[in-house]
Amino acid sequence: MVHAAMAWLADTRWSIALHESQYAYAIVESIHVWALCLFVGFAVLLDLRLVGAIFRDVPVSQMVRRLLPWTKVGFVVMVVSGVVLYYAIPLRTYHNVFFRLKAVLLILAGLNVFLFHRGIYLSVARWDLDPPPRPAKVAGLCSLVLWAAIVVSGRMIAYNWFDCAKPQSAGISLMAGCTPDMIDPYSQ
């Protein structure tokens, strides 16, 4: 059913326009990468602070208060440009294993943020300038690993190794939701 919705989406005027345009896709992609520096870059700084690797003289609460608004701006740009990139190639992306992996990792990263803010961060006043407590370090480390994996899996969406247009192993077919009718005899 989702497959049919994506096939419909792929046939909409703007999706075709984005897909066929010489520059539009590349420009949106560049915006996505630029915002990555802001969003992931600041997230990494905050994580490194939580791990205790950088800015030890800056209170954690200040890092969060002063950097989080910018991280949010970066995140909004990431999501908007990401949605546009998805919309340009909806059907293939929907069946892309790296996209699916990225979606799962994004949920985990979101969960990590939620647990951090509802958990150890509530008592930040008690350890603002001390070496961060263990749960904060764990949250920072999880975040670093998750965002790195998200960046890498995002980049890999571009590669067609596991596309349903090619015959795939049973495992990949299951993960990507490939069906035999999706094999394109003209793609090698």
């Binding site: 990468v33 630029w34 520096c37 992931v40 990494v44 800015f55 800056v58 950097l67 980049r155 590669y159």
Partner: protein, 158 residues
């Protein structure tokens, strides 16, 4: 004049090995992108601070000193991963406008970052006027954005 050099570089063993591998180029590219996230954060946090944004309550020089190893480290990662990517497609780069734009901007960005920006950001607070700080931050943002933008477009060209 440079073309023969680029042809030799493309024919190098490293270039050859990367081209012959299905996953080597994407793997190195992923490292390049991870390095970008770190360098992005480390450069932006100081440029934002010079503009009066972000970590406002803190001394610019202390921030700049703290991130310095991360800037140097990520530049090292970027170069170490960027060179093999270049070797894999040197001839394509030779004909790519994006490549030359990026390399020119990179030269200026590195030169600016390790001279003017370095002395301004490491100077005791108040030594330079806010207008100076802002100008330095804007030039740095423009140069590094051009580097990133150009880099992404090498992939779209050719």
């Amino acid at each position: 004049m440079l073309l023969p050099l680029f042809q030799t570089l493309e024919a190098s063993a490293i270039g050859e090995a990367i081209r012959n591998s299905l996953w080597l180029f994407p793997a190195i590219e992923a490292c390049h992108l991870l390095g970008l996230a770190v360098i992005g954060g480390a450069i932006l946090v100081v440029d934002f601070r010079l503009l009066g944004l972000g970590l406002r309550g803190h001394s610019v020089s202390r921030l700049a000193r703290s991130v310095q190893p991360w800037v140097v480290g990520s530049v090292a990662v970027m170069i170490a991963s960027g060179v093999p990517l270049f070797l894999a497609e040197a001839i394509k780069c030779y004909y790519s406008f994006a490549f030359w734009t990026k390399m020119t901007a990179l030269l200026f960005a590195l030169g600016f970052t390790f001279t003017v920006r370095r002395s301004v950001s490491l100077a005791p607070d108040g030594r330079f006027t806010p207008a100076w700080n802002k100008a330095v931050a804007l030039i740095s943002l423009a140069l590094w954005s051009t580097v990133g933008w150009g880099g992404r477009w090498i992939g779209f060209s050719g």
